[in-house]
Symmetry: C2
Subunit: 131 residues, 2 copies
């Protein structure tokens, strides 16, 4: 992940972002994973729901998918004497998510280059003649 | 886009990335859009295909979807006397894609914080007691 793959022709596929793992590359899941990676002790359902502005059904569905992919783990317990489920990233999940984030950063860096005014930033193509 | 939405409870949904437009938030499309935003004069089919390491069918399908969403435009013409189609971002597409990229940058910045060693970066949760 994060590395460029050589294409069949041997040339570099600069904009092939193969490291964008589809399990994580989903709007709501990105929110859930980012909330969990920044809360290393874990978060309970209601906290994630609020932080990510998701409905119960939507959050449940995404948590189940992330757990099935071994990215997160759920632990039943109590807080303030109420039964709750705590969600955390697994060790492997944290590694995979941060590798995914590195790939995402490549996208952002490449795209943000066009905003840098003083660099040779816009690449042209050979002459093209509209018909 | 790029702004946090207040939730019903009035609290802030720090990890709700509503600006991640689903039309653009797809692995191959991110590659296509990033290649086009960095090549302001446009790219022909074979160039995008190589830069993004996509098959003909896959690329055609995504280009059609991006054109239907008015993010890109296709122009028929000739290069080196061969008929080719040149693809470019529309003005609106460029604006929308850069707004999307800003939102993506929020995700990356939030997640990368956990790698900063010397900052108060990991937020805890109230005491949780496993059962």
């Amino acid at each position: 992940m994060g590395r460029k793959r050589e294409t069949a022709a041997g040339s570099r596929a600069d904009f092939a972002y193969h490291g964008l793992d589809r399990t994580m590359h989903e709007q709501a899941r990105l929110g859930i994973l980012t909330s969990l990676v920044t809360h290393s002790t874990g978060l309970v359902f209601s906290e994630i729901k609020e932080l990510c502005d998701l409905t119960d059904g939507n959050l449940s569905r995404h948590l189940a998918a992330l757990e099935a992919a071994h990215l997160i783990e759920a632990k039943k317990g109590k807080r303030d004497r109420y039964p709750q489920t705590l969600y955390r990233l697994t060790d492997g999940g944290r590694r995979r998510f941060l590798a995914y984030i590195d790939e995402l950063e490549r996208v952002v860096t490449a795209a943000q280059l066009v905003r840098a005014p003083s660099r040779e930033r816009i690449r042209g193509s050979p002459a093209f003649h509209p018909t």
